[in-house]
């Protein structure tokens, strides 16, 4: 237990360093750093309805981040959450388009199935390239992100194009209201239930099954796991598929919930934020749920900043990037400091 407390403290220290770097960047760019942080905290946590907004952004992020946890724990850097998220949403949109007119209790499950399958398949090809040939999954999944953006542009300006849409941003036809699982405000019992189910299943998978134990071991020492007779191929491919399916699920939730339609280039920071959440939470599912709410708040502040406070929303991207820069740091200096501090805490 103390070990996890130390890791929480370590994360907090590096997040503070990252925020200091952000403050520096804001000042150099000519903004007042205290004002910027105050506006961000206001937008994220203090304004009325902030919790609802944090949930609206945090729940899909949690679903994707839970998938990232699975693949990172197994030792695979699946950076392609964004692409898998897009492809999931696209497949769900196609399913909704083809089944349009059927009753909702058929269409909605079909969309979810399509979305999760799409995301899983988009994670599977880098997984196979990695496991069969050793092709570096960092690059292939990154390229998968760029390819998915192109597919999204193609779909929203081609097969699923909304002919009545405005010229500014290509988008698909809006979903029939009967097929939506939430209003545009974005939080509904259905979405909460999906996120809770994902949380419970992933927690059980990680902590209570052979797969969870073996994949965690494989991430730390793949050779040992192979020698103990486990199939690295099965564990690896399963972790790619699960993480892709969850990202696809999040894409489907965003499509059928708050968004209601596909728009080209929607939520471009989703995958990166999800990776960040998984890392800040130190790859634990419970931690991911808590951290996702925090980053959900930040994501909602990205919309609040330009409209209410007149500040650029790229401030949120910078905060996320700075945290990513520092979050995996495990400096001896900080560890020694924490250890001494803990010892002193016990003796006095």
């Amino acid at each position: 237990m103390t070990e996890s407390i130390v890791s929480v403290f370590r994360a907090l220290i590096f997040i503070v360093i990252a925020l200091a770097l952000c403050g520096l960047i804001f000042s150099v760019a000519g903004y007042s750093a205290p004002d910027m942080f105050r506006a961000i905290i206001d937008g994220a946590f203090l304004r009325t309805g902030a919790l609802q907004q944090a949930l609206r952004w945090g729940l899909p992020l949690f679903i994707t981040a839970a998938g990232v946890v699975i693949s990172f724990r197994a030792g695979y850097f699946n950076i392609g959450a964004q692409g898998q998220f897009y492809i999931g949403a696209i497949c769900a949109a196609f399913a909704a388009d083809w089944l349009n007119g059927l009753p909702a209790f058929i269409v909605i499950p079909a969309c979810f199935l399509a979305g999760m399958t799409g995301g899983a398949l988009w994670a599977m090809w880098p997984g196979i390239l990695r496991l069969r040939s050793g092709a570096d999954e960092v690059i292939t999944t990154l390229m998968g992100n760029f390819l998915a953006v192109i597919v999204l542009i193609y779909v929203t300006s081609g097969p699923l194009k909304d002919p009545t849409g405005s010229g500014q941003q290509a988008s698909s036809r809006p979903l029939d209201a009967a097929y939506r699982i939430s209003t545009s405000y974005g939080v509904s019992p259905t979405i909460i239930a999906i996120a809770v189910l994902v949380g419970i299943f992933m927690w059980l998978l990680v902590n209570r099954t052979a797969f969870g134990v073996l994949s965690g071991l494989a991430g730390r020492n793949a050779t040992m796991v192979t020698w103990q007779g486990a199939r690295l191929w099965n564990i690896g491919l399963a972790s790619f598929i699960i993480s892709g399916a969850l990202a696809g699920l999040a894409g489907t939730v965003e499509l059928m919930g708050p968004n209601g339609r596909l728009a080209s280039g929607f939520l471009p920071a989703h995958g990166f934020t999800a990776i960040l959440i998984a890392l800040v939470a130190n790859l634990s599912i419970v931690g991911t749920a808590i951290v996702a709410l925090f980053f959900g708040g930040l994501a909602s502040a990205a919309l609040y900043l330009p409209v209410i406070a007149g500040l650029p929303s790229s401030a949120i991207d910078i905060i996320n990037a700075a945290i990513a820069l520092f979050i995996t740091a495990k400096s001896n200096i900080v560890d020694r400091f924490l250890r001494n501090w803990r010892k002193r805490g016990w003796t006095t």
């Binding site: 950076i79 570096d136 730390r220 790229s314 995996t328 495990k330 400096s331």
Partner: protein
Amino acid sequence: MDDVIIAILRSATPLVYVTLAGVIAQRSGIWHLGLEGLMIAGACATILGTVLTGSILSALLIAMVICIVASILFWFVVEKLKANQIIAGLGLTGLGLGGTTLAVESIFGSQAAVTAPTGLPRLGAMFGAYGTLSILVLLMPLFVLAVWVLLCRTRFGLRLSAAGEHPFAARSVGVNPGRMRLIALMIGGVLCALGGAELASGSLQFFSQNMTAGRGFMAFAAVIFGAGHPIGATFAALFFAIVGAIGIRAQLVFGERVPHDLLLALPYLATVFGIWLSARLRGGVKAVTGFGELRDS
């Protein structure tokens, strides 16, 4: 034929400069995924510097200084704080993408593209049809040669490789691997600034947000495809550029008969193919553990 070669040179040159930065970092033992961020910082600083100071030379200097400072920050996080290189590199890329957007917004008040009055010096009329290319295109082979000499024919290059491949051995002969990595990343910062400058200021002289569009990651892929060798990586970068140029060419020739988006996807597909091929030929990432961790002994 000339215009095809010009198009290839135009898209290849920025990629080659950034690839060289990646090669040097790779030799010193660092998987440099921050190339994309450094490249866009260089591109943005060149254009904004030209607009604000009016001189391309001071703009280039500003771009280099910014990229070197960012490289030192990256080095500090990876070497001193022992952060995971892949995640820290992605963080650096995010800082570059977000920071350039913020800079444009804070100076011009909007996210629209910024156009600079002057660009890099051009080759001039004596090169005929190639006269519209920038001087950095002509210097590119020289830089490749210089990096090759530096890495493969000097004592410094040997020490750099030792710092990356076997830090313990390097230390035993009095080489400080950490300092070698710092030097490698700083040289890389200069090269990324040049690559970004060529991208933004070599032909059209404008900056728009996210204009690198994954080129930094392609450069990283070229490093792997080229097995960390400067010449090999340069040819890998040329290959990606040629595929991209073929796409644009095909669009001009076939027009609407070829789907436009498929052609846009070609360079990314070529990158995946390159990574797969180099893994098949040379054996890929074998052990899962240790990837992204700095080798220290």
